[in-house]
Structures are given as structure tokens and as C-alpha cells.
């Protein structure tokens, strides 16, 4: 039964995703106590940051903004289940379980559609 291997692989994906996101969110949360949610550890002048706006994340990360770290953590967290489903599809494919590979790909397609097409 290779299901056990698949389960271990998924466990790993989940653990990495959760740990990386938890570290990023913790960094952002801790830094917010130092310079505030609207601040920056580099002291760089900021354009008014909207906490619900995820755009310009990389440049805001480079500015060491607490908000950007928290948001990057959220992005990693949100991506984790999607990656998990992709890994599961791959696992079923390698087990030559066509039925469940298709079922899993259908779930993946729906997830991707919800991020890409819905505004």
C-alpha cells in the first residue's frame, strides 16, 4: 500500500507550509509591536498601506514592513492546501490510480479557478 508514502509526503508539504507561514506571520506580528502595523523596520518612507491590499508584496518585504511579513505568511498558508492537492494528484498518478488522479485534478482545477477567475 503506497498510500502510506503519499500520506507521509502530504504530511511533509503541510508541515513545511505551516511552519514557513507561521514564522513569517510571527515575524510580522512581533515587528508590529516595535514599529506598528503601518511602520517599517528600515524606517523607509511608506505609502499608506492598506492591510487588505496584497499588491506590491515583494517590494514591501524588502522595506521590512511588519504588514508585508504577515501578508507573505498568509500567502504561503493559503498556497499550502493548493500545493497539497497538486501533490496528491501526482501521488495518485504515480500509483496508476486514474480515477482518483482525475478526481484530484478536478479539485485542483476548481481551486485554481477560484483564485484566477473570481474578482
Amino acid at each position: 500500500m503506497t498510500d502510506a508514502r503519499l500520506e507521509r509526503l502530504m504530511s511533509l508539504v503541510l508541515a513545511i507550509g505551516v511552519i514557513v507561514s507561521a514564522v513569517l506571520i510571527t515575524l510580522g506580528f512581533a515587528a508590529s509591536f516595535v514599529v506598528g502595523w503601518a511602520g517599517s523596520l528600515t524606517g523607509a518612507a511608506l505609502r499608506a498601506a492598506d492591510a487588505t491590499d496584497f499588491s506590491g508584496l515583494l517590494s514591501r518585504l524588502a522595506d521590512l514592513q511588519p504588514l508585508a511579513f504577515a501578508q507573505a505568511g498568509l500567502v504561503v498558508l493559503i498556497a499550502t492546501p493548493v500545493v497539497r492537492v497538486a501533490v496528491t494528484a501526482l501521488g495518485f498518478w504515480r500509483e496508476r490510480d486514474a480515477l482518483y488522479a482525475v478526481i484530484t485534478l478536478a479539485v485542483l482545477a476548481l481551486l485554481v479557478a477560484s483564485f484566477v477567475f473570481v474578482r
Binding site: L6, L14, S21, F29, L74, I78, T80, A106
Partner: protein, 281 residues
């Protein structure tokens, strides 16, 4: 919404408690944190749902690490039923902004009450003993797990799969609508309709919750309901609580799990229902 630094710490602690209870009861911490954020902290219900739906991904993923290791979650059942929950979640998240807050609170209260009723009704039910191992299983959904308490392997097969699938679609809509994992409704579908062992239902539900939540979170982000200042303490707190809960679960019998869960949820459910009806207590 203006949250002070000490307010952030309070949110962190409250969220940790919600995550712990959620993991022990096989439901997402969202079921607890949405009414708490809305009723206690005065957060807009859509923003509360946006924070919750992210934290629900953390709960599910954090706890699922342990559940997968222990071999209780059934990946085939999860993937098959996720088709229903994911479609439902997208629909729920799309219509959520058009649903009045009172209706959302009422729905939340009802889901909470269903959870409590489920816990009470099945308080003395021993899982596994009733597993209908002889039923047909064309989708290969059956499985087995090792019971620590009974010290033997338990084989199981699901019954009434179409009814379970339909119930999962409803669970998905509720998840997208309220930003909760809908773990209670998922467990109800698997444990109640499909007659899967309680621990398999709980673990598989927890496993599915993250994917269901991921289906609606993109819509919440696109609409500006995911506020990182709120989500950070809520998610961190719930994550810690969920990981601790998942570690505790194998050591507890079902009765203990439910006895902790019932009175707390009942109180929150009644408060939420009353607020949904416009009564301030």
C-alpha cells in the same frame, strides 16, 4: 477597526483557546472565532469571516500533519467529497456579501447548535464497532485504522455515499458563507450519513477543511475582507491551539473530547442565535 497592541495579545490568547477546542471537537476553530470576533470584538462579520477562513486553513493543515501521521484521515474519501465542498465554498463566498449580517449570525448560530446536538446525541456511541464492512464500495472509499484504545485494527466502508456528497455541498456553501471550516457538517455527513468511525470522520474532516477554505479565501482576499492586522494574531493563536489539540486527541476517549466541547459551544451558539434574532444579552 483600531486594535491596540494589548488587544492584539488578547486576540492571540482567545484564538489559541478557539483552536484547541476546534481541534479536539473535529471542527475548525472558525466556528468559535467568528462569533467571538463579531460579538465580543465588534468586527464586521465579513472581515471576521475573512480572518477566520485563513485561520481555518492553519487549523486544518496543522492538525492534519498529526492526523495523517496517525493514519486516521482517508485521502480517497476526502478527495472525492472535496469536489462537493469546493464547489459549495465558491458559491457561498460569492453570495456572502449580499447576505445580511443578521442572517449570517442566525446561520452561524444554527450550525453551532447542530454541532452541539451532534456531540450530545453521540456521546455514548462507540465508534468502529458498527462499521458496515460488507457494503458495496465501487469508489474504493473504505479503509482501516488502528484504535489505540481497543488495541486492534478497525476496517470500515461508507454507506449512503450520494447523501454524504450532497451534505458536503451544503457544508461547502456554509463554509464559504461564514468563513468557517464547516467541520461539524462534514463530520455529520461522514459519521452520520456515511457511518464512518468517529475518529476517521474527524480526521478526514479536518483534512478536507483546509482545501474547502482555500476555495473561498481567494474571493475574500479579492474583496478586501482579509485584514492582515487581524488575521496575524488570530491565525497564530489558532495554529498553536490546533497543534496542541491534535497532540492531545489520541490520548482522549470520545466521551472526554465531547464533554469539553459541548458546554462551551452551547453558550456561544445561544449567544449567536440571540444576536442573530436581534436580542442583545
Amino acid at each position: 477597526m483600531t486594535l491596540s497592541a494589548s488587544g492584539d495579545l488578547v486576540l492571540l490568547v482567545v484564538s489559541a483557546a478557539a483552536g484547541l477546542l476546534g481541534a479536539l471537537g473535529g471542527v475548525g476553530g472558525g466556528l468559535i472565532i467568528v462569533p467571538v470576533l463579531t460579538l465580543v470584538f465588534g468586527v464586521d462579520i465579513h472581515v471576521a469571516a475573512g480572518a477566520s477562513i485563513v485561520s481555518v486553513i492553519a487549523t486544518s493543515s496543522g492538525a492534519a500533519v498529526a492526523f495523517l501521521r496517525d493514519g486516521w484521515a482517508n485521502i480517497r474519501i476526502a478527495m472525492f467529497l472535496q469536489i462537493a465542498t469546493v464547489i459549495g465554498a465558491i458559491v457561498g463566498a460569492l453570495v456572502a456579501p449580499d447576505v445580511p449580517a443578521q442572517i449570517l449570525l442566525l446561520t452561524l448560530g444554527i450550525v453551532l447548535l447542530i454541532s452541539v446536538a451532534m456531540q450530545v446525541a453521540r456521546l455514548n456511541d462507540e465508534p468502529g464497532a458498527e462499521a458496515p464492512a460488507a457494503s458495496p464500495d465501487p469508489l474504493r472509499l473504505g479503509g482501516e485504522y488502528f484504535s489505540l484504545r481497543l488495541q486492534r485494527q478497525i476496517d470500515y466502508r461508507p454507506t449512503r455515499v450520494s447523501a454524504g456528497f450532497a451534505m458536503m455541498a451544503v457544508a461547502g456553501v456554509i463554509s464559504g458563507l461564514l468563513g468557517i471550516g464547516s467541520g461539524a457538517l462534514k463530520v455529520l455527513a461522514m459519521d452520520g450519513l456515511m457511518r464512518l468511525p468517529m475518529k476517521v470522520s474527524s480526521a478526514t474532516s479536518n483534512f478536507m477543511i483546509g482545501v474547502t477554505a482555500a476555495a473561498s479565501v481567494g474571493i475574500y482576499v479579492a474583496r478586501g475582507y482579509v485584514d492582515a492586522r487581524l488575521v496575524a494574531p488570530v491565525t497564530l493563536g489558532i495554529l498553536v491551539g490546533a497543534v496542541v489539540g491534535a497532540r492531545l486527541l489520541p490520548r482522549l476517549t470520545n466521551r472526554h473530547v465531547r464533554l469539553v466541547f459541548v458546554p462551551v459551544l452551547l453558550a456561544i451558539a445561544l449567544e449567536t442565535l440571540l444576536r442573530g434574532l436581534g436580542v442583545n444579552v
